[in-house]
Amino acid sequence: MFEELCHRWKEETSTPSTDFMAIVMNSAYQRIISLGWDAVPLILAELKIQPDHWGWALEAITGENPVPAEAEGDIEQIGSAWLQWGRANHLIA
């Protein structure tokens, strides 16, 4: 389910006019958020492979925001902050 939604999200947002709201309001992305905490380790595993716009989903699910203000907009730094958070919370190795 997660892999399918993730694939759909990337496919549907790969357009020349996609802006940030289109990325995070995409229906597949919203369905991933609706999976709740079950999705968190899967998103973190995705982040380990490749940074992407997962900060919004992780914050929506967990209610946390480990991203420092100076990292705004930088998906590599945002991803690193979430991976660090995931390790600290024993959600990924």
Partner: protein, 151 residues
Amino acid sequence: MSLPARVLAAFPGIVESECLHTSPEDRRYNCIAHAAGDHRRWWQPEKVPHTYWPKGILRTSTLDAYEAAFGTLGYVRCANDSLEPGLEKVAIFMNPTKGPTHAARQLEDGPWTSKLGLLEDIGHPLRQVEGHVYGVVATFMSRPRKKVTSP
């Protein structure tokens, strides 16, 4: 590299022989960031988490806000897209119903460079990306071009 079919489909005005596919798809940065020379961050005028906008600039998707954002990089409004030695120009596109949609930057030898959403960067004649996706160019801005120095 030839242009992907999805790019040609979105921009019917593109003449493939006059454009260059200059980077692979990259989800880290968007068109505004690319025009601003920033390949690390996603620039977004609306105040939404996990996006960047220059500090002190109104977070709203208006032409004024875009101009102010580029103003923080030293750009000032200019008259047109002509190639002027020593000047680097950006063009901001507007769609009449959506507001500002896109920004492109002029390269030193005349063509323009654009990042297409989450997709690739391309080099192109400016007006070839006008159309139903981005609308039309609404304003031009320029600043002194930085000299590239050898290490």
